[in-house]
């Protein structure tokens, strides 16, 4: 037993078979110094650069348009009649590699209809301390409720302020929209909503 243990135990690594001194020294060709003229050209590069227009953007005063598909702050979108598109399915939260999204769904009731269909997102939080702006949540969203804006100014002084609630993320009410909760467009199912058949709110949706 003892003998077996000994044979199994780690042996000190044998020194390399190849002796480092046995490797032939190969002379590497150095390019050497550039010619005097080439060096002067280098000086001209920096000198002429002084009279070119700087690339700097004077950021707080001047804001440049981002790329069209820049990944900025998220937005929760609405249907054209004002109902929320989010159905509280949590697919975004599951897709999130950074675990930055927290969703809590709830049932829609006839008195309290937030989105077309059965469910809506009751609690929706995105933690921008964790978010890596990869956009996987956008790809996961089945109703196109979650999209990204080009807004990139996401700095704040406390950690709490960087956890965005549903109110912070919801898109604005546009013309023809009525703030939810309100009933669905008369005669329309949730499928009609997804197909884009609803163009604006119906007077009968107005809640008292």
């Amino acid at each position: 037993m003892a003998e077996q243990n000994e044979s199994n135990s780690l042996q000190p690594h044998e020194s390399n078979e190849v002796d480092i001194t046995a490797i032939a020294y190969e002379k590497v060709d150095q390019l050497g110094a550039k010619s005097f003229w080439a060096q002067l050209q280098g000086f001209w590069v920096t000198f002429s650069a002084m009279f070119k227009k700087p690339n700097t953007v004077q950021y707080p005063e001047v804001k440049e348009q981002t790329a069209e598909r820049f990944h900025g702050r998220h937005q929760l979108n609405r249907h054209p009649d004002g109902l929320e598109k989010c159905i509280g399915c949590e697919l975004c939260a599951w897709a999130c590699p950074a675990d930055a999204i927290y969703v809590e769904g709830a049932d829609n009731t006839p008195d309290h209809q937030m989105s077309p269909g059965e469910r809506y997102g009751k609690v929706y939080q995105i933690n921008y301390l964790r978010c890596v702006f990869c956009g996987l949540c956008i790809e996961a969203c089945p109703t196109r409720a979650l999209t990204m804006t080009n807004e990139y100014e996401l700095a704040d002084s406390t950690r709490g302020k960087l956890i965005f609630e549903k109110d912070d993320l919801l898109g604005p009410l546009r013309a023809g929209m009525i703030p939810p909760p309100h009933p669905m467009y008369p005669g329309m199912t949730d499928t009609n909503y997804y197909n884009g058949d609803v163009k604006e709110a119906h007077p009968s949706q107005e809640t008292k």
């Binding site: 060709d29 280098g42 000086f43 002084m50 700097t56 004077q58």
Partner: protein, 414 residues
Amino acid sequence: MNNADLLLDDPGWIITLKAVIVFAVCVVLTILSVWGERRIVARMQMRVGPNRVGKFGLIQALADGVKLALKEDLIPAAADKIVFVIAPIISVTAAFMAFAVMPLTGPVNFFGEETVMQLTDIPVGVLYVLATASFGVYGIVLAGWSSGSTYPLLGGLRSSAQVISYEIAMGLSLVSVFIYAGSMSTSSIVQAQQETWWYGLVLFPAFVIYAISMVGETNRAPFDLAEAEGELVGGFHTEYSSLKFALFFLAEYINIIAVSALATTLFLGGYHAFPGLGFTEQWLSGWFTLFWFFIKVLFFFFIFVWLRGTLPRLRYDQFMQFGWKVLIPVSLLWILVVATLRLISTSSQSRLVTFGFAGVVVLLVLGVSTAFENSKKKRNSIEHPEAAAPDFAVPSLPSEITTINVSNQGGDRG
């Protein structure tokens, strides 16, 4: 009446006032040059540079200074406390002292007193500047040593080795100036240049050697190996913070101004106007010479910044090789040539002998450099034997690839 006589009858209050003015000039120039450097080097890199604090960011350096002063002053536990505190003071004192012998103006009317803007004029003024510069090395080496840490020690040793090496080349390059001016006093050298040409033209090789070694002397790019951030963190001042760091910073910039001022004095005619503009020296009752002096100093400062914006840092061994194997031998040879020329011309030989000797020297230099270039070309042109094909797998060269295997399937655009 030369400068030394003018300075001799200065009353005490003028001397005191001048000392204060020299101090103020150094500090103000430092603040402005830090700003100027950052702006210029930014433009060279297509940036804008500091433009927030004050008009055009002019008082950015002042704001930085206030910030530095308000920071916590750390002394590492392993440091030798007394030496650690003294080192930056030595550095900055030595830097300030060099400015005492710089003639900033010609004779001017200073509060009713005829004098020159020069604190003192000693017969060995230039040697005094070299001495203070060497003295500043103590600050560097002591700072590195007393920090009780590895990087500062290495950085301090590098800096001091560098400064000492380049000081030799610098001192040797100045010898030809002494030979031609017949004096070591700064004001006499300025006067001597007025009688002939600027020494920057007459003694051009010495000027070039001085210009190179002054960059090495001040630890500036491309010779800033002591502060090679990637290798040595901050060099000798790694452990310094707050005001002590500010002192080193100040010393570095005053040193730059001081070597620029020395170059102006010794090679570009000092405070005198450019040739052909001599009438301007009488403007503002002599004070206008101050303008010419600063124009020249700022020209050198611009060269410093330009070098920094253009050249990458040298490797340490290349740098030392350049100093010891190129600059020093060349300046020694140059001294021989200048001394011989001077002897020939003063021993009232005919002009022909002088020109003959100069011609022989030029031909000799050209011959040697051509032979050197030829041997280098020959060495490079020797064909290297083709290496045997390796017996391990190697990726095929791009030129050998004829077909690229691309499948039609896949990709996210169905």
